[in-house]
């Protein structure tokens, strides 16, 4: 476990910023205590100072996961968000997509969101903007990338993809052994 380098921090923040914009500040600077990002086995964890001090005494080989995993660095040093970060993305998300109850299951099985399943979408969502996907009951289901801007969404045919799937809470079941 170690702190992130400058380049790594930049990569993480750039990816987070696609979903929550400048709200990253609220993650970095929290009134309820000191929280920090730490790298462990190429994965980025978000944890409190208290937890960090506890985890510091655990040998590296024995440590499975300190805190909340935000994602991992690929071998080519790109950062990928994982669904475990959803708890921190959802409250701060700037652009949201709500899916209809009928297509919730399809999304949770790892499929893209089609126009037919689109319930609501935040106004002024640009194309390729990172969005957080909610059910109509405002339960965060995952996140993805808007394939069409809000304006385009109104015109496209019902079978067109409007949100590219990136992660969903179904992964807790599907990828149970690789999620940490």
């Amino acid at each position: 476990m170690r702190p992130l380098t400058e380049a790594e921090t930049r990569a993480v923040f750039e990816k987070l910023g696609k979903y929550i914009g400048e709200n990253i500040q609220l993650l970095v600077d929290r009134p309820d205590g000191t929280y920090c990002f730490r790298l462990h086995r190429d994965r980025v964890y978000y944890l409190s100072e208290k937890l960090l001090k506890l985890a510091a005494s655990v040998p590296r080989e024995s440590l499975v996961a300190p805190g909340t995993c935000f994602g991992k660095f690929t071998k080519s040093q790109k950062f990928r968000l994982s669904v475990t970060a959803l708890d921190f993305l959802a409250p701060y998300a700037k652009y949201k997509v709500w899916v209809k109850p009928g297509s919730e299951q399809s999304f949770l099985y790892g499929n893209h969101v089609l126009k037919s399943g689109l319930g609501r979408i935040t106004e002024s969502t640009a194309q390729y903007q990172g969005v957080v996907v909610y059910s109509m009951a405002d339960v965060p289901l995952g996140f993805g990338v808007a394939a069409k801007s809000t304006q385009e969404c109104r015109k496209v045919d019902p079978l067109a993809i409007v949100v590219f799937h990136q992660a969903d809470v179904g992964e807790y079941v599907r990828n149970e052994d690789t999620l940490t």
Partner: protein
């Protein structure tokens, strides 16, 4: 009775003969491809796949038989070559092999290209191309084609000329022949020095860590000295840990290879500082201002200056102060411009002397 016996004997003899022949006649569906120069035969016939499958004594025997048959074919081809007795009638029989046709792959890896010399680097930077010149030129006086350089060159060797002009402004007492000889000697020496430097540079580029000490080139450049000093510094029992530091040396002990060691912030360091660093980074990213890359900016500025200097130089290529003019264009020196012009003796005594000679 007797006739039958004779026939039987003949048949037996024939069989024996056939048995003897069987070992040297090999039947193949496809003819083998031979390259007798390399003593090589290539068998394109597919091997009996079913029999070769799996390990075991049977497969081994089959492979042995196949190899024997093919060798037999090759050897019988060798016997068809023209042969002669070496060293008289009683000597061994020697066959004359034809030229090899099969190109064997080379044993060693292909040689690496020689690293470019200093001049080649410079020429590439400036886009200077080599002009092809014929080696023979027409000599008007001799009325024949002669070499451009070297022995019996066109126009005669200037060092062997019987007459040398005294340049305007030169000392009339000075021996012009001696001057020409001296200048030639200097040119040769400088060329040799440059050659050695190029060799040393190529040698250095090949190995990151110089195992050997300095090259006995007479002149060591700064980089080389620094590298050797660094190696010497860490070559103690404690890997340089207790070596006294020089005044301007960094506190961090240098690594042997000269590379920068990857260092991370401490796990439980100053968390407040970490947070403020991250907030700073966020502000940076939010402002969308392009980050100033100092190295890139400096390079850009240098290139621009160089281009300007080259453009200015092109205009007055014929004028004598081409090099000096370029030098004075540097921003740091512009203030000295007038002073340098007024007192050339003080500023550049060597340059002034050379100018007089030329």
């Amino acid at each position: 009775m007797a006739a039958v016996r004779v026939e039987a004997v003949l048949a037996a003899a024939e069989e024996q003969e056939a048995e003897k022949r069987r070992s040297i006649t090999v039947e193949k569906e496809l003819e083998l491809e031979y390259d007798l120069g390399n003593l090589l035969a290539v068998d394109r016939n597919p091997p009996p796949a079913a029999a070769l499958r799996g390990a075991g004594p049977r497969r081994e025997a089959l492979l042995r038989a196949l190899a024997r048959d093919n060798t037999q074919l090759l050897v019988s081809r060798l016997w068809e070559l023209p042969a002669e007795r070496a060293g008289g009638a009683g000597g061994p029989l020697v066959a004359q092999l034809p030229e090899p046709t099969f190109r064997l792959p080379r044993e060693k890896p292909a040689p690496k290209p020689r690293p470019p010399t200093r001049w080649e680097q410079f020429a590439r930077l400036k886009g200077i191309r080599r002009k092809k010149k014929t080696s023979l030129v027409w000599d008007e006086q001799a009325k024949e084609w002669r070499r451009r350089w070297g022995y019996r060159r066109a126009g005669g060797d200037p060092s062997r000329a019987w007459l040398a002009e005294v340049p305007a402004g030169a000392d009339p007492e000075e021996d012009q022949f001696a001057r020409l000889r001296r200048e030639k000697r200097e040119r040769v020496a400088r060329n040799e020095l440059n050659r050695l430097r190029n060799l040393a540079r190529a040698h250095r580029a090949g190995s990151a860590v110089p195992a050997a000490p300095l090259h006995p080139t007479g002149h060591q450049d700064r980089d080389e000295l620094r590298r050797v000093a660094r190696v010497a510094r860490v070559s103690t029992a404690s890997l340089g840990r207790f070596q006294p530091r020089l005044p301007k040396e960094p506190a961090e002990p240098p690594s042997r290879s000269g590379g920068k060691k990857r260092r991370f912030q401490p796990l439980l360091g100053n968390l407040a500082a970490e947070r403020s660093r991250q907030l700073e980074l966020l502000r940076d990213m939010g402002s969308k201002k392009p980050v100033l890359d100092i190295t890139r900016a400096v390079n850009k500025q240098l290139r621009q200056e160089e281009a300007e200097a080259a453009a200015a130089n092109k205009g007055k290529k014929q004028s004598k102060r081409g090099k000096r003019g370029r030098r004075q264009q540097r921003p740091g020196r512009s203030g000295k411009k007038s002073g340098a012009r007024r007192q050339p003796q003080q500023q550049k005594p060597a340059g002034g002397g050379r100018r007089k000679k030329a």
